[in-house]
């Protein structure tokens, strides 16, 4: 049960956008398989007609007023300066395609 292959791990890493070394991939094949086998015991629980729980306090539709929240120039500068690459007031990234 829940035995992951090397190509499964490669695929998940691609979805998660994490570049893994060969050693990391090998290690994760073993570790993830063992964790998932442990988790597999959940399949034995009868959950017929049981709704899923995503939250526990029962709050619904918590909304704020649809108005933009102004920040000071100072905060804006700090946010822009936190970016790895800033060009003027833009955040610079690599192109999507080479």
């Amino acid at each position: 049960m829940a035995k992951l292959s090397l190509s499964d791990v490669e695929h998940i890493a691609k979805l998660a956008r994490i570049h893994l070394t060969d050693t990391e991939q090998q290690k994760l094949v073993t570790e993830l398989s063992s964790i998932l086998s442990y988790i597999d015991q959940l399949k034995a629980v009868d959950t017929t007609n049981v709704p899923p729980t995503a939250q526990v306090t029962g709050l619904t539709d918590v909304l704020r007023d649809d108005v933009s929240q102004q920040q000071s120039v100072d905060v804006r500068e700090q946010l822009l300066n936190a970016t790895p690459k800033r060009t003027g007031d833009f955040v610079e990234t690599k192109a999507v395609f080479e």
Partner: protein
């Protein structure tokens, strides 16, 4: 008088208000303790000593001017390094945020600052709070001050160790599956995880949004009550907080009694493999409650065994989503700053920044979560886990029709040796075995010291309450604290 850094929050607060001591003296005492001990313990990732002294002197000046100040004014705090602190580096113990300086304060930090606390610095944790030993920190483990060969627990291990070594007066922690309660137990201090929604998480770097909570870690139960009152309440910045009124928790302690208190004792929480001294200490505590007039009720929480498997689907799933924001584009570590020829396009920036920024446990959790949420596996893993979570919650709802509080050991073992459990991730996941169900249900729980176990290390008693009944668990904890010497 005792050394000032060894005072409890209430003792320090009273001495400050009577002007027997100044906040500057108190802060200096904590800073000297940090200087003396922290090269060994490594509880702090950042110490803001100059800023702390400036704040302390400011509070002293305001007090001298006759200003009426609250009980927290001038009290030195240690803040887990997963809360955003304006102008102070906030790392989550991850390389990916090693140089991150937030432009704003987390709501709880802002509230405590308004009360006049003195921030000593930011404490160590497992990277992004993923762990139960603080060994997963990218900046090296914290050591347990009671035995430096042992872990302080985690993920709030730095805060627990700072308290146990009297390097601070009070601390803030977070608990997602046990991260306040377990280190509190391992270090012999008090830690309370409030009801989900009781305290704002705005400015807390998200891990598992459906179970993350913020709570006080302190030297005494009264201290925890005072800090909880200061940080609790609705916050427009966190849509999961509720408008339920915040109680004056301390006032409940003055009249606390356990006469007639019905204490549920779940048989599933005295598991095989538990260290015998743990069961002895906890049974002794239960007997003490009985002698004080409480009634012990044998209860069943039949889905307890599924808490860990549910938790390790729900948590990685939410982690994989929450850590998606660390992409090397907007803040934090970025490969595009390095002269890396492989960093050719946007996708390479993402995957190389994340590869070099995240540690092994963060990667592991992102991978499990991505798998559990991916096409074809969602129903079998995530949805099934969410359904079993309902059954775990219902177990508690049934039991709370019959009892006022539930008492269990906090952990099946005392603090283990550094390196003892790092070989197998599952071993560390099982550390949460008595803690995760409470988190999945969103209930409040406190861990208080109840004596010494194996290797003379502290044992924790966990007291679980019904939703938004923090005053009941604090009262029960207080009575025990007052009638014993632990």
């Amino acid at each position: 008088m005792r050394k000032l850094n060894t005072l409890s929050l209430i003792e320090a607060s009273e001495a400050l208000q009577k002007k027997e001591i100044s906040s500057e003296e108190l802060t200096r005492a904590c800073l000297s303790a940090i200087k003396e001990k922290d090269s060994t313990i490594h509880a702090f990732l950042t110490v803001t000593d100059e800023h702390a002294l400036t704040t302390a002197r400011d509070i002293d000046r305001r007090r001298a001017n006759g200003e009426r100040l609250g009980p927290l004014a001038g009290i030195p705090f240690a803040i887990k390094d997963i809360f955003a602190t304006q102008g102070v580096r906030t790392t989550a113990a991850s390389k990916i945020l090693e140089e991150y300086v937030p432009p704003y304060d987390a709501t709880v930090v802002a509230k405590l600052k308004e009360q006049g606390i003195v921030i000593l610095g930011k404490t160590n944790l497992d990277e992004f709070a993923h762990g139960a030993s603080t060994e997963n920190s990218a900046f090296g483990p914290t050591k347990n001050p009671l035995d430096t060969e042992r872990v302080p627990g985690g993920s709030s291990g730095g805060s627990a160790a700072a308290l146990a070594a009297d390097m601070c007066i009070a601390a803030l922690g977070t608990d997602t599956g046990g991260s306040i309660r377990q280190p509190a137990a391992f270090c012999g201090v008090v830690g309370i995880k409030p009801t989900y929604g009781r305290v704002s998480r705005y400015g807390l770097l998200s891990m598992t949004s459906s179970t993350d909570v913020v709570g006080p870690m302190t030297k005494t139960v009264t201290d925890a009550a005072v800090v909880l009152e200061a940080i609790a309440g609705e916050d427009g910045h966190d849509a999961t907080t509720t408008a339920k009124p915040v109680l004056n928790y301390r006032s409940y302690l003055e009249h606390a009694s356990v006469k007639g208190l019905r204490i549920g004792v779940p048989r599933e929480y005295f598991i095989s493999g538990m260290q015998p001294e743990i069961e002895q200490r906890v049974r002794a505590a239960l007997n003490a409650y009985e002698k004080l007039g409480a009634t012990l009720v044998d209860i069943a929480l039949p889905h307890t065994q599924y808490a860990i498997p549910v938790y390790y689907i729900v948590t990685p799933s939410e982690v994989s989503s929450n850590l998606g924001r660390y992409d090397g584009i907007r803040y934090g570590y970025s490969e595009c700053r390095m002269q890396n020829a492989e960093c050719r396009n946007l996708e390479a920036v993402y995957s190389l920044s994340r590869a070099h920024g995240f540690g092994p446990e963060a990667k592991r959790r992102i991978m499990i979560g991505t798998y559990a949420l991916s096409h074809g596996y969602y129903d079998a893993y995530y949805l099934q886990a969410a359904k079993v979570r309902t059954l775990i919650r219902r177990d508690f709802e049934e039991v709370f029709k019959k009892v006022d509080v539930i008492m269990t050991p906090t952990s099946p073992n005392v603090a283990f040796k550094i390196g003892e459990k790092t070989g197998d991730p599952l071993q560390l996941y099982l550390e949460d075995v008595l803690l995760a169900a409470v988190s999945l249900a969103g209930l409040p729980a406190i861990s208080i010291p109840c004596g010494k176990g194996a290797h003379n290390m502290p044992v924790g008693l966990q007291i679980i309450g019904n939703y938004f009944e923090e005053e009941k668990i604090l009262s029960a904890a207080y009575i025990y604290e007052q009638t014993t010497t632990h």
